[in-house]
């Protein structure tokens, strides 16, 4: 009860003193994911509160899955527990269409929204209106060990094909010394193995649904993608791959157990971090692979972004906070404290034009190229009724993606064939889509 009353009082006070510097204290509750960049932001909060002495910030930092559950329940029930949410490119369009998010117009002039990378700001907009401000963005690319490639006598092209990847994986694998040619995600989940496999399938020319929302797992393209994935992983992958997600692969790569790793571009700053990576100075980057003759590099795009729920009572203060956290000034603040390598990547053109950043972050050019190449409005070469790169931006995808991911990880664990996994995925997805009313 107290909360509600306090919240109401806060809101009234804000209205009453609009335009005047309010002595009233506003407490913002910010829900965020526990990734390194967010935790750094939490540590820098004092910079914001010094500029806005009337606002205090309370942090709710949670692991990604728990955060998503928690925040979704709250926003869908109009709970109003949070004032700023950290959500991804998957949620933004869906939630914006439900009118659960406050449009981010009227940001201060020095915010410079035009500086945002076009691919990212497009993914966070609905009908041209920005609904969330990107905090950091990522695409996907190949990270590989230069020393292993050299020893194996391989030159990695800047834009490899899947055949190049296979050849490189074969040459770099040395199982006796626990070096595996390639590490890929295998843990079932829509944001785990299906993020990678959807991007890989995109690059093979596959699509999730045809224009009538019929699932396409019975297509030749999906078959080819999954077969090649299984082939790569069984022959050149690490043991236990069917329970490896982003984190597990990151640890493997940092310990020098992977020749190549194809995953999110943000990983680049972790694997080149001399404090945590044993291979920091032996990593180079290449574009996400494509299939010979197919101009599609997966279209992976993700941005952790800050948004304001419509149920928040403190939208003005929340907007000020978001403007601070995603500004150029914040990037400079991080750079001055922890160096340019630590600056949140993948959101602003100005960062990639900054010579300091270019020289300190060896992955900058490839990251920018990958993000710019990602087309989330049309991720497949075929016609598709949905948007989204490594996911399908419909509410049902979390459940469907996880169910399909379970089948594919069973195939990876050797419990079923690629064909069986695909037909199970087809049946499952058809069932879910029929229920949700897409398939008439």
């Amino acid at each position: 009860m107290n909360r509600t009353i306090r919240a109401l009082m806060g809101a009234t006070a804000l209205c009453a003193t609009a335009g005047i510097a309010a002595a009233q204290d506003t407490t913002l509750t910010v829900a965020t994911v526990n990734n390194g960049d967010m935790i750094r932001m939490q540590g820098l909060t004092s910079d914001f509160t010094e500029k806005h002495p009337d606002i205090t910030v309370e942090w709710v930092t949670l692991e990604e899955n728990i955060l998503r559950e928690r925040v979704t329940t709250d926003i869908a029930t109009q709970g109003g527990q949070y004032d700023v949410l950290t959500i991804g490119t998957y949620e933004v369009p869906i939630w914006a269409k439900q009118q659960w998010l406050v449009p981010l117009d009227g940001l201060p002039d020095d915010y410079d929204a035009d500086d945002l990378l076009p691919a990212v700001s497009e993914a966070l907009s609905v009908d041209g209106t920005l609904y969330a401000a990107p905090f950091y963005g990522e695409s996907a690319m190949v990270m590989y060990r230069t020393d292993l490639a050299e020893a194996a006598g391989i030159t990695m092209p800047e834009s490899p094909t899947w055949a190049d990847i296979k050849a490189a994986a074969e040459a770099m694998t040395d199982k006796d010394n626990e070096v595996y040619g390639i590490c890929l995600r295998g843990k079932p989940g829509w944001g785990e193995n299906m993020a990678f496999l959807t991007a890989m399938a995109n690059s093979y020319g596959a699509r999730w649904f045809d224009m009538d929302w019929k699932p396409q797992f019975d297509s030749q393209e999906w078959n080819a993608a999954l077969t090649d994935y299984l082939d790569l992983m069984t022959n050149y992958g690490p043991p236990g791959a069917s329970s490896n997600g982003f984190n597990e692969n990151l640890s493997l790569f940092q310990q020098g157990k992977c020749g190549m790793w194809i995953d999110a571009t943000v990983a680049a700053s972790f694997v080149t971090d001399p404090e945590n990576s044993t291979v920091a100075d032996k990593v180079s980057f290449a574009q996400f692979p494509n299939k010979e003759g197919m101009d599609n590099h997966g279209n992976w795009l993700w941005a952790w972004s800050l948004a304001i729920p419509a149920s928040s009572q403190k939208q003005d203060a929340a907007k000020q906070f978001i403007a601070w956290a995603t500004s150029k000034g914040y990037t400079e603040l991080v750079a001055s404290k922890d160096g340019w390598r630590a600056a949140p990547p993948g959101t602003r053109t100005s960062l990639y034009e900054n010579p300091d950043y270019q020289s300190e972050a060896p992955f900058a050019a490839m990251t920018l190229q990958a993000i710019n190449a990602a087309n989330t409005q049309k991720s497949s070469v075929q016609d598709i009724p949905y948007t989204g790169g490594q996911f399908v931006a419909i509410p049902e995808f979390q459940g469907i993606g996880t169910a399909v991911g379970q089948q594919f990880s069973a195939a990876l664990a050797g419990q079923m064939s690629a064909e069986d996994a695909l037909s199970a995925a087809q049946a499952n997805t058809t069932r879910e889509m029929t229920r949700a009313g897409y398939i008439k």
């Binding site: 329940t73 690490p238 236990g240 459940g399 996880t402 991911g405 419990q415």
Partner: protein
């Protein structure tokens, strides 16, 4: 034996607990029952409509449904088997006068103090991981190749983790019961030359029957609801190999945000759990007297 007065006093003493639990049961159960007949997706609340029996039909026809029920049974039985047998053995072991008894006891019951998601994370990444888990190191030490636990034996791996968490509970209850065992009777039997095994079968086991029953009943209730450990380790896979009924409901409720479907799954789970409970009561209920 009880006079009318004590009987009504007893009713008065029982009442608060019964009323509270009745409310706690009826409100969520009632709301869940109601939701289970709705097409209600949290992410699309505008489209809410009456669904009739559709949610039930949909849940029941899920390709994972029967495997999930089977997995639930295997998980519950497996953990019960390990915890009850292990619990009896450990309880008897730490009941003996040994050096550092206090420390041994606290070590044995300590897994109970670890939060389930943390326990699962520890086991997954530090113990069972085929590349940097302790099991892998042991295997390598003996020259064997490491086992990929969660891919090869997903359900067994989860049973091991859950059994580790619940072993202390069983040990604790069984140890308590063991300590009320009549020492004189035991000594008399020993004097008469009864071998240890028959002393165990004819004296110790019957004495522990009620404690074992309590362990089985309470644990069954908790074990039917396990999902956090699955979520952290295998996400129900590979395939449906480690999907249990609760995980299926979790998938509906927290990934699809399909409130209607999850509610129907919840009602199905309650009905099945009640079958189990009735069966258990028939089988072991007498021991409670």
């Amino acid at each position: 034996m009880a006079t009318r007065q004590t009987a009504s006093l007893a009713r008065l003493m029982r009442a608060p607990a019964i009323i509270l639990l009745l409310i706690w049961m009826l409100i969520p159960l009632g709301m869940t029952l109601y939701y289970s007949f709705l097409n209600y997706n949290l992410l699309n609340p505008a489209n809410t409509s009456w669904a009739g029996w559709f949610n039930y039909q949909y849940f029941y026809t899920d390709p994972a449904f029967f495997e999930a029920i089977w997995n639930t049974i295997v998980l519950v039985m497996g953990v019960l088997l390990i915890t009850v047998c292990g619990g009896i053995a450990i309880a008897m072991l730490i009941d003996k006068p040994i050096f550092g008894q206090g420390i041994v006891r606290i070590l044995v019951i300590s897994p109970f103090f670890v939060m389930p998601p943390v326990a699962a994370l520890i086991w997954k990444n530090m113990i069972m991981h085929p590349s940097y888990g302790v099991f892998a190191d042991i295997a390598k030490f003996f020259g064997a190749s490491p086992v990929d636990w969660f891919a090869t034996y997903p359900l067994l791996s989860i049973i091991i983790i859950v059994a580790w968490q619940w072993l202390p509970f069983a040990t604790l209850i069984l140890l308590t019961s063991l300590q009320s065992l009549d020492g004189e009777q035991m000594e008399a039997a020993e004097m008469d030359g009864a071998p240890a095994i028959s002393r165990f079968i004819y004296l110790t086991l019957p004495h522990m029957a009620r404690a074992i029953t309590v362990v089985v009943l309470i644990q069954t209730i908790f074990l039917l609801g396990i999902y956090a450990e699955i979520l952290v380790t295998t996400n129900g896979g590979p395939g449906y190999a480690s999907t249990n009924l609760t995980f299926l409901i979790y998938r509906a409720a927290r990934l699809n945000f399909d409130i209607g479907g999850a509610a129907a799954g919840g009602i199905i789970a309650v009905i099945l759990a009640n079958f189990v409970a009735i069966f258990l009561m028939r089988a072991v209920g007498k021991n409670l007297d």
